[in-house]
C-alpha cells in the first residue's frame, strides 16, 4: 500500500519539528520554518479533499448560475465560458488544476452577478437570485474553511 500524500507531508513536518527546529535560533530561519509548517498543515487539510470539494462546488455552481442567467437574462462572457466548459469537466474525470480553473471562472461569474443584483436591488427576481448567490457564497466559504481555519490563525510570519 502506498503512503498517502497526507502521511508524507506529516512525515516531512515531523522531520523538521524533531531535527531542524531545535537547532535554529536565527529569527529569519525560525520564521521560514514557521511558514513551512503552516503550508504543510494547509496541504494536509487540502490535498486529500480538494478535488472532491471543487467537483461538488462547481456542480452546484452550474445549477445556480444557469438559473441566475435565465431569471435575470444576464449575458456575461465569464458566465457563458463557465457554463460551456463545466459539463464536460464535471461529467468526466478531471484533474484538480482543471477543476480549480473552472471554479475560478464560476466564481468570476458569481462576482459579476452580485454586481448585477445590487444594481437591480428592490426587484423581486434580482433579490431572489441575490439570496441564492449569498447562500452559495457562505456554503463555499464553509467548504474551504478547513484549508485555512485554524491553519492560518497565528503569527503571520
Amino acid at each position: 500500500m502506498m503512503p498517502t500524500s497526507q502521511q508524507m507531508l506529516a512525515a516531512v513536518q515531523l522531520a523538521l519539528q524533531e531535527h531542524v527546529a531545535p537547532k535554529i535560533d536565527d529569527q529569519w530561519a525560525q520564521s521560514a520554518l514557521r511558514s513551512v509548517e503552516v503550508i504543510l498543515n494547509h496541504l494536509q487539510a487540502r490535498v486529500p479533499v480538494e478535488g472532491a470539494m471543487l467537483h461538488e462546488d462547481s456542480r452546484e455552481l452550474v445549477v445556480l448560475l444557469t438559473a441566475a442567467r435565465d431569471r435575470l437574462s444576464h449575458d456575461d462572457p465569464a458566465l457563458a465560458t463557465f457554463l460551456a466548459e463545466a459539463p464536460d469537466l464535471i461529467d468526466g474525470y478531471a484533474r484538480v488544476d482543471a477543476l480549480q480553473a473552472l471554479n475560478h471562472k464560476g466564481r468570476e461569474a458569481v462576482d459579476a452577478l452580485l454586481h448585477a443584483c445590487h444594481a437591480r436591488k428592490g426587484e423581486a427576481v434580482a433579490d431572489a437570485v441575490h439570496a441564492d448567490l449569498r447562500a452559495w457564497l457562505l456554503k463555499h466559504a464553509d467548504r474551504e474553511s478547513g484549508f485555512f481555519f485554524p491553519t492560518y490563525v497565528g503569527r503571520p510570519v
Binding site: 529569527q27 529569519w28 520564521s31 521560514a32 511558514s35 513551512v36 503552516v38 503550508i39 494547509h42 475560478h104 466564481r107 468570476e108 458569481v110 462576482d111 452580485l114 454586481h115 445590487h118 448567490l133 449569498r134 457564497l137 457562505l138 463555499h140 466559504a141 464553509d142 474551504e144 474553511s145 484549508f147 485555512f148 481555519f149 491553519t151 492560518y152 490563525v153 497565528g154 503569527r155 503571520p156 510570519v157
Partner: protein
C-alpha cells in the same frame, strides 16, 4: 543581496567620500519592504541610518515608497515625532532599480520588554504607555493638513462626513486592480459594509494607518518616533484607533480614549470605531493579496508572500463570512475576539 562594500559606496556617494559603512543589519520581519540598520564611520565619529527599499517584485502594501517618504518629510517639521528623512532615491543600481529611502536612525526600540508582566505596577505602566501613544495620535490627528502641505499630495475626502465613503471607494478601486482571485464573498461584504458607512467624523485628519505595538520607536516608555507610514491617509481619526494594534487593550480603553479626546479636542464616535474595526478586516484582503502578485509571477517566490498574500487573505475572507449581514457592533465583537489570538504583537509575551 546588498553587501557592505556596495552599501558603503552608496552612502559615500550620497554623503561625501569620508563616509564608510562599518556594519549593517536587516531588521525582522520586513516582508513588504526591506529595512536595514546601517552604521557608518564619518571621519572618526559614528553615524547611524535606516535604509529602506521595496522587496523584490514590489511591496505588499499597494502604495509607492516615495509616498511614505513624502509623508515623513512633511511631518518632520511638525510636532509629530518622526525620524529625520534624508533622501529618496527612485531607482539606484545598488538595489537593481528598487526605490530607496534613507532616514537618520532614532535612539530607541520597537520593543518594550516586560510590558506584559503581571502585577499592578506592570498594569499601570501599560496604561501610561497607552496614554503616551494617545497623545502622539492626537498630535497627528490635530494637524492642519492645508498648512502642512499634505493636501498637495494626499487624496482628500470632500468633507468630514465623506471620510468613510471616500476610503471605501478608494479601496474598491485598489481591490479591482490588485486582486488575484474573484473573491465574490469579499465583493458581497463590501456591499454590506457600504450600507453602514459612518458619516460622523469630527474632522479630516492625517491618519497613520497601522499604528501601536510593533509599529513605533519607543524610549523610556515614550514614543520617540512614529514609524512605518506606508498606509497613511486623510480620513476619520476613529479609523486610526481601529488600527491601533493593541493600544486600546493595553490599559482601560475608555481612559485611553478620553485622554486622547482631551488632548485632541474632539471626540471619537464609538460606533464609527466599531465600523472601522470591521472595515479594516475587509481592507486587509486587497492589501495583503497584492503581495501575492510577485509570487504568482515568479518575481518573489518566497513563503512569506504565499502565507500573507494567500493564506492570510483566505483567513480574512473566512472572518468576513462569519460577520457578513450581522449588525456592525456584533461584527466588531467577532473581530475583537479574533484579535485575542496569542500571536498578536500585544500578546507576544504571553
Amino acid at each position: 543581496m546588498i553587501d557592505q562594500q556596495s552599501l558603503s559606496d552608496y552612502f559615500a556617494a550620497h554623503m561625501g567620500g569620508d563616509v564608510r559603512v562599518t556594519r549593517f543589519k536587516r531588521t525582522f520581519p520586513g516582508i513588504s519592504r526591506e529595512t536595514f540598520l546601517v552604521w557608518t564611520d564619518e571621519g572618526g565619529s559614528e553615524g547611524s541610518y535606516v535604509f529602506r527599499t521595496d522587496a523584490l517584485g514590489g511591496p505588499i502594501c499597494p502604495v509607492p515608497l516615495d509616498y511614505e517618504y513624502r509623508i515623513i518629510k512633511g511631518l518632520y517639521p511638525t510636532a509629530v515625532p518622526v525620524a529625520e528623512p534624508l533622501w529618496f532615491d527612485p531607482a539606484p543600481a545598488l538595489t537593481e532599480g528598487r526605490p530607496v529611502m534613507v532616514r537618520r536612525m532614532v535612539d530607541g526600540s520597537n520593543d518594550l520588554p516586560g510590558l506584559y508582566d503581571e502585577g499592578a505596577q506592570a498594569a499601570a505602566r501599560r496604561q501610561r504607555v497607552a496614554l503616551d501613544h494617545a497623545e502622539k495620535l492626537a498630535t497627528l490627528h490635530a494637524l492642519d493638513l492645508e498648512a502642512t502641505g499634505f493636501t498637495a499630495f494626499v487624496d482628500m475626502p470632500a468633507s468630514a462626513a465623506d471620510c468613510a465613503l471616500f476610503d471605501f471607494n478608494r479601496w474598491q478601486t485598489i481591490f479591482r486592480d490588485v486582486r488575484t482571485d474573484p473573491f465574490p464573498l469579499v465583493t458581497e461584504a463590501a456591499y454590506w459594509l457600504k450600507e453602514h458607512l459612518p458619516t460622523t467624523a469630527p474632522r479630516i485628519s492625517l491618519c497613520k494607518g497601522n499604528n501601536g505595538m510593533g509599529e513605533e520607536i519607543w524610549k523610556d516608555d515614550r514614543i520617540v518616533a512614529l514609524s512605518d507610514w506606508e498606509l497613511a491617509f486623510a480620513g476619520d481619526p476613529a479609523q486610526d484607533w481601529a488600527l491601533s494594534q493593541g493600544m486600546l487593550t493595553l490599559g482601560d480603553a475608555d481612559v485611553t480614549l478620553r485622554h486622547y479626546e482631551d488632548v485632541a479636542g474632539f471626540a471619537i464616535d464609538r460606533s464609527s470605531l466599531d465600523f472601522y474595526r470591521v472595515w479594516e478586516v475587509w481592507k486587509a484582503v486587497p492589501t495583503l493579496n497584492n503581495g501575492l502578485r510577485p509570487f504568482l509571477s515568479g518575481e518573489n517566490p518566497r513563503v512569506p508572500r504565499l502565507n500573507l498574500g494567500f493564506g492570510r487573505v483566505k483567513l480574512f475572507e473566512q472572518l468576513l463570512a462569519m460577520m457578513i449581514g450581522k449588525p456592525i457592533d456584533e461584527a466588531a465583537h467577532i473581530v475583537a475576539e479574533w484579535r485575542k489570538s496569542p500571536y498578536r504583537p500585544e500578546n507576544a509575551a504571553n
